[in-house]
Symmetry: C2
Subunit: 554 residues, 2 copies
């Protein structure tokens, strides 16, 4: 690769082809710093996959160079791959109080005890080898979010992390625009910035505006109020808790992540709950409907989440009653629209009132829209720009936005995961690539499910399968038992008896044909079975189930 | 059921639980009239299913009463189930020139020759037994759309069909508000109205507004323009053709349905194409890029549609070039967001410019928003109201809208598919239900895939399968051959050799255990195999593949 130690190399390992899996490596003088370590959720075609993490072949190969992982905030797409990555490269991890609180929980679940976690505060500068890493107060849909400035002898690398500009933040922690302006004045070599909302004009509304809607909802509701939101949106949770407190409602929490995150956030001081406000779900029946608010997961219609279970009467302790007011305080993430709609419909059918985004202002985004992005570009005023945190369409549009603000197009690097951009004080260029890609996690298996397995799952999902078993005599080459046929996911068995009989005949005929030609090779026999069956089934049903011939010899 | 012939019964058989499968039966004096006969597309969990049609058990049982099927317009969710339904009940079908043009095509494909199709014009009144059926000019995202008024001796049933109110329609066919007002004045017993956009405030923009965007795009583009839209949106197609003509571009059409519908629409006179404007795809290379516009299917990111194939370089005749301008003249239908995004990303990666909804006004809906719905309610002024064409959330909101306009809540029937509403001159009530539900079509099979098959497909899709085959000696009860193990969709075979060996051991042990206890029943042997394997596989992989034990005897 011809690396020269006097160059900085920036290598995104995730987050540049999708929303998710954010991870960036910075290499300088044979040392490596990692920013974030996220997961993504599987695409529709990744059947049965639980989560997706970045390919870290490059990091494993350069293990001894890594000085640490610094985290911008505690969302899954920024910390979710840590348990998997830390198993391979055990390096120190730095982050804010809430971020580390969530990381600790996660490592405990995965039984990874011996990791050095170090809490940093906004404004802190820590030294990691050739990197001086500064954590800058930012603002996002989770508290304690940081932007990161990496100071090196070649210049400053400024990573915005996920951000929005909220002039009236719930926790009073205003994004440190002063410091960003100062860095911009001093001179930023390269900026990496959040591209999620680049297609949206204007500015994202303040989180406070949602509070006004809640105030309105809580002051009018006569029966129970059930609010579903992202558990990690602690500011949102705070506003709901405040509204409940003000209107003398007790709060019941439901959903594992809601309960967990509220506990962690309270512990680190990011969430303020009045004594006795949150009651146990089993005490609910001591209160009237108008004295209760329920805070739950399931705002994305996830089938196993608490709200979905309430809507389908599968929740053990909570059922929806006519007159309940259910608020979806979230927007469906692309791909979740149908699941959300399904839950909304179920709620309506149970007689609940349902408030969702097209009806009221019950959600704001955590990401900057165009006007906020422009402010960030102007303040940081970088020499070079790499749009991050987005799909190709977002990265492209963000690159264009930078050009509209006056940046030369050759200074904008719209790149992919694995691309290497090399910087000197006054020059930057693409310099090859490192392995990158999606590693699929299915149960305990990390990377053991790949394209072939997924292709098979897709085939099975679409048309089911037919297993044909036949025992052949070693001596005679004739059928000793079978053929037996078993199908799953293909057609109702009771409707297909004739078809199965036909199938057996066709298999027998194919095998007889082989025997007459004295063919004994299993591969040939199997393909004879497969071909004859395929033809029959397609003709009769226009379907193509997977056909699995099994031959045994006795 | 206690039917009395002096009552009108309205029975929706589809369209009241989802967007799709629209079909309503009206029964009066032992005669039945059917309005529309649509399909819906499968939900995500309906793995491998092609389309979904209404359950017509009720109609088949009352075959001899049916006077005919009247069609409001030619969209799939209103005509798509015809080939399946007409196979069971061969009755006359009535519709507009374009609607029947599309139906004819469809019946030809399904090889259903002997159906009586009768064309009706806007303003026509036809007599079908006790029903006088009037076809009223409407406006929708396909030309020749009708509202339907069914005149009976008990009163008028007014069905809006799908509609919007466009004051400047492309084809000059203004929705016949005068006639609707007249009916309202005369007195409408019950109205059934489109609920699709009831959650949207204001009014849907005129189709003409999209024309202005196209004019702007066509006057600026320097290279090829590729526009993807719904083939059936003939007004949209007309505007694109007009823009191409004006800016001296030849038009190439791609995608089966685009080519088909353009042909049908031209034939019936619903589309006006200047001589020589549309050229064959093979003549494309005789023109410069700025002389070409390509009109294609694939606006929903459908994997097999023409635009998707261009984007992934799988189209035989068309590839995307850097500088191409691609316009998505459509909004993703809920559930299609991710596929559309995938194609947009691929196009960007090929260097195309891409224009889609968040960036320009390239699409308008075909359905009425709240203000238009209010106008319709005011004009028709019905005594009773049944919201149709929507999910439960839409129907519920539409019911509320009617109440806000002054209708008594007991006169609003927010009902489900299969519900029966019975009307007399001055009374209406719910009166039981008829069988209704979703019939799944997979290949040639209509209704042969049900919940068990789908559950198996889901299981297979998520964790794959493991087939265990063992041959047992009839005499000794001992293993004669095997166990053999085959897995698909589970793990990479090369990574799982040890696991497969362990699995064989476990199976052998389980069978030995059975033999020692002298157990010979296959069901018991199979469940012993299944249980032992399940435990092993979950312990080793945290996955639960489908386990299929097969036992043969020799």
């Amino acid at each position: 690769m011809g690396r020269k130690p006097t160059k900085i190399r920036i290598i995104p390992l995730g987050g540049l082809s999708e929303i998710g899996r954010n991870m960036t490596a910075i290499e300088y003088k044979d040392e490596i710093l990692i920013i974030d370590c996220g997961l993504s959720f599987p695409e529709d075609e990744m059947l049965g996959i639980d989560i997706v993490i970045p390919d870290i072949t490059f990091l494993i190969k350069n293990k001894e160079k890594i000085k640490g992982i610094v985290l911008t905030h505690g969302h899954e797409d920024h910390i979710g791959a840590l348990p998997y990555v830390l198993k391979k490269i055990n390096v120190p991890v730095y982050g804010s109080r809430l971020t580390l609180g969530l990381v600790e929980n996660k490592l405990k679940e995965h039984k990874i005890p011996e990791v050095h976690l170090q809490r940093v505060n906004a404004g802190d500068m820590i030294n990691l080898g050739v990197f001086d890493v500064e954590f800058i107060q930012s603002c996002h849909s989770i508290p304690d979010a940081y932007a990161i400035a990496v100071h090196t002898s070649l210049g400053i690398i400024f990573h915005t992390g996920d951000f929005k500009i909220d002039y009236t933040p719930i926790d009073g922690q205003f994004i440190d625009l002063h410091r960003i302006a100062e860095l911009g004045k001093k001179g930023v070599l390269v900026m990496l910035a959040d591209s999620t909302n680049v297609e949206r004009a204007g500015s994202t509304m303040s989180e406070k505006s949602v509070g006004a809607t809640f105030e309105n909802i809580f002051s009018k509701a006569k029966k129970r109020i059930i609010v579903a939101t992202f558990a990690s949106n602690v500011h949102r949770v705070q506003q709901i808790i405040d509204a409940a407190h003000k209107h003398s409602r007790k709060v019941v929490t439901s959903g594992r992540s809601m309960i967990n995150i509220i506990a962690v956030a309270q512990e680190v001081g990011a969430l303020n709950v009045p004594e006795g406000l949150i009651i146990d779900i089993n005490e609910m029946d001591q209160y009237e409907d108008h004295q209760l608010a329920i805070l739950t997961t399931g705002s994305q219609g996830e089938p196993m989440a608490a709200l979905s279970r309430m809507a389908s009467s599968e929740h053990r302790k909570l059922d929806i009653k006519a007159g309940d007011l259910v608020v979806f305080s979230a927007t469906p993430i692309p791909g979740n629209e149908k699941s959300v709609t399904k839950v909304i419909n179920q709620l309506f059918e149970k007689g609940a009132e349902v408030i969702y985004e097209s009806l009221a202002e019950v959600h704001v985004s955590g990401h900057a829209c165009q006007e906020e992005l422009k402010l960030m570009h102007r303040l940081a005023n970088p020499q070079y720009f790499i749009p991050v945190h987005g799909e190709p369409r977002h990265l492209r549009q963000h690159g264009k936005l930078a050009e509209k603000l006056g940046m030369k197009s050759e200074n904008v690097f719209v790149i992919q995961n694995g691309s290497v951009v090399e910087f000197t004080k006054d020059h930057a260029k693409l310099a090859g690539s490192v392995p990158s890609g999606r590693v699929l996690v299915d149960g305990l298996g990390v990377g053991d499910v790949g394209n072939i397995v997924l292709r098979d799952r897709k085939h099975l999902a679409e048309d089911g399968l037919m297993v044909v078993v036949v025992t052949i005599s070693k001596e005679t080459g004739k059928i000793a038992a079978g053929p037996d046929i078993i199908s799953r996911g293909f057609v109702y068995v009771r409707e297909s008896e004739v078809l199965i009989d036909d199938a057996k005949k066709v298999v027998r005929k194919a095998l007889d044909g082989c025997e007459q030609q004295n063919i004994r090779e299993w591969a040939v026999l199997k393909s004879a079975i497969r071909d004859s069956l395929k033809e029959l089934l397609y003709e009769k049903t226009k379907r193509r189930p997977m056909i699995l011939p099994v031959i045994m010899e006795v």
